[in-house]
């Protein structure tokens, strides 16, 4: 009798153990997240978040987008330029597209992918291909093709001032000065202790230059987060700009990626990473913001989700004679136009 009771007891215990085990096992299977639905499960310290840095006080935004963005009509857009008549030149793919107000757009075919474009006052178009410069007339006829600068050259910016043509070579970290005929006059900005020139730090192919109204060449030194002023002979005169995640400085490892001069001698600069277009006065003091990540990248704080998009993420900026600012969105292939609506401080 006792034995029977014992046997029954054991059976019950075993039954309960098996039942519990089965229930726990089934629960474990159903709670198993094999498809990544519950996310990475990492703590906040493992999340990369620049959301707060991307927020901009609306009081500081001085510009507003003034019309619908213009589609560039290109697969990959690299650089933008405007001429005195308000025509917009966009270099990309293997072409330069000219979008004029009221005129049908034109297209100049190139032999290779362009890196930069600029327009002289007489209407000639200077295009920097990867390692050489080509010159076109208004009708798109090629006037000249200057000699190649070698395999390492990566031309990222070009500017025309009177009879001088300046080209920024990001690959060799140097600025080249040409005369109007394409003869190399001198090289500017190579590191030189005797002349107190630190040299350009260009970690990525974003290296911009322009000539200001004071007759000095302005070149971005992106790795040092500043804009340097050189004489045409290559003497470093002064510089301004500093690193800061805040609005006054340039963020990230190498910014600004491009800049342009405004009519009043001020600067409009464009950064990547945290995509911001900002205004500085002629002395390099922060004035205000044209557009921040919210305006430029549709509320997302970073421009890219996948690496290939990140690689395209250096926007180009240019200012028209009427004070409008054109921002080339190289990811979406559009040009945004901004007009000033408020006076700065």
């Amino acid at each position: 009798m006792n034995r029977l009771a014992g046997a029954v007891n054991t059976r019950i215990t075993v039954g309960v153990v098996i039942g519990t085990a089965i229930i726990i096992g089934v629960v474990a299977v159903f709670r198993l997240d094999s498809t990544g639905k519950k996310g990475s499960g990492l703590g906040d310290e493992f999340k990369y978040d620049v959301k707060d840095l991307g927020k901009i006080d609306p009081e500081l935004i001085l510009y507003e987008q003034s019309s619908e963005p213009i589609a560039t009509g290109l697969e990959i857009s690299r650089a933008i330029a405007v001429d005195g008549r308000g025509n917009v030149y966009i270099a990309g793919d293997n072409a330069v597209r000219i979008i004029g107000e009221g005129n049908p757009s034109k297209r100049i075919e190139l032999s290779a992918a362009p890196g930069c474009v600029t327009v002289a006052d007489d209407g000639r178009i200077f295009v920097g291909l990867r390692e050489h410069v080509e010159v076109f007339d208004v009708a798109g006829k090629r006037l000249a093709s200057w000699p190649s600068l070698g395999d390492d050259a990566v031309l990222t910016s070009i500017a025309v001032y009177k009879d001088n043509v300046f080209a920024a070579d990001a690959g060799n970290r140097i600025v080249l000065r040409y005369d109007a005929a394409g003869r190399l006059v001198n090289r500017i900005g190579a590191g030189d202790d005797t002349r107190n020139i630190p040299g350009f730090v260009v970690p990525s192919p974003y290296f911009d230059l322009a000539v200001a109204r004071d007759g000095l060449l302005r070149v971005v030194n992106p790795g040092r987060h500043r804009i340097e002023a050189y004489t045409f002979d290559g003497d470093l005169e002064f510089w301004w700009g500093r690193y800061s995640a805040g609005l006054e400085g340039f963020c990230g490892c190498c910014n600004p990626v491009s800049f342009a001069l405004l009519g009043d001698g001020g600067f409009v600069t464009c950064e990547k990473g945290l995509t911001r277009v900002k205004i500085y006065d002629a002395e390099g003091r922060f004035v205000g913001v044209v557009a921040g990540p919210e305006q430029l990248t549709g509320g997302k704080w970073n421009i890219c989700e996948i690496p290939s998009a990140c690689r395209l993420g250096g926007f180009d900026v240019v200012a028209g004679v009427d004070g409008r600012i054109f921002v080339l969105d190289t990811v979406k292939n559009i040009v945004r136009t901004f007009t000033r609506t408020r006076a700065g401080k």
Binding site: S40, L42, R224, C253, I306, C310
Partner: protein
């Protein structure tokens, strides 16, 4: 009799299947790898690996690196000073070693024993820098599961099987 027919029929079927499978484009052995062009560095690699310490780690393609003084993969975006004090470092496990090369260049090396494959630095480098930091399956650690658990949880489909002869998908570098 019937049993015999079934048996040898089955044997023939198995043989035919074997021949078909082996004749079909016999591939070399494959291993799992992340395509760095597709990877979004979501962080799943750190926790979904069957190994306690993930087989995915950050890899550095030095030739793509800009050797910046301010590395956005190494420093917090709001870092106050450019030194590797804990308050400035981006990597929560301190796996990025920074070494001075020459003015103004610094070298960044991943200490794999500390890296957990969370991809935080990858995001930082992609957003601001050249994207020289990216995640790769480290084959000295990977046990090459039949179905990779991280691949199953990968949101961007970046995991794929590659030939064991060429087991890494490194970023293209300057020739």
């Amino acid at each position: 009799m019937l049993v015999g027919i079934l048996r040898y029929g089955g044997l023939g079927l198995l043989g035919a299947a074997g021949v078909y499978l082996l004749k079909k484009n016999p591939k070399p052995r494959t291993v799992w790898q992340i395509d760095p062009q597709v990877c979004v560095a979501c962080g799943n690699c750190a926790n979904y690996c069957v190994l306690e310490e993930s087989a995915v780690k950050c890899t550095h393609a030095f030739a793509v690196c800009g050797y910046c003084e301010l590395c956005s993969g190494c420093f917090r975006p709001d870092a106050k000073e450019l030194n590797t004090g804990a308050e400035n470092q981006l990597c929560p496990t301190g796996a990025i070693k920074r070494a001075y090369v020459e003015d103004p260049y610094y070298e960044y090396v991943i200490d794999e024993s500390l890296c957990n494959g969370c991809g935080k630095c990858v995001k930082g480098c992609n957003a601001f820098g050249n994207g020289s930091l990216f995640l790769q399956v480290r084959h000295d650690r990977c046990v090459n599961c039949n179905e990779c658990s991280i691949a199953a949880a990968c949101p961007s489909g970046a995991f794929k099987r590659v030939s064991a002869e060429k087991p890494y998908l490194l970023k293209e570098t300057h020739a």
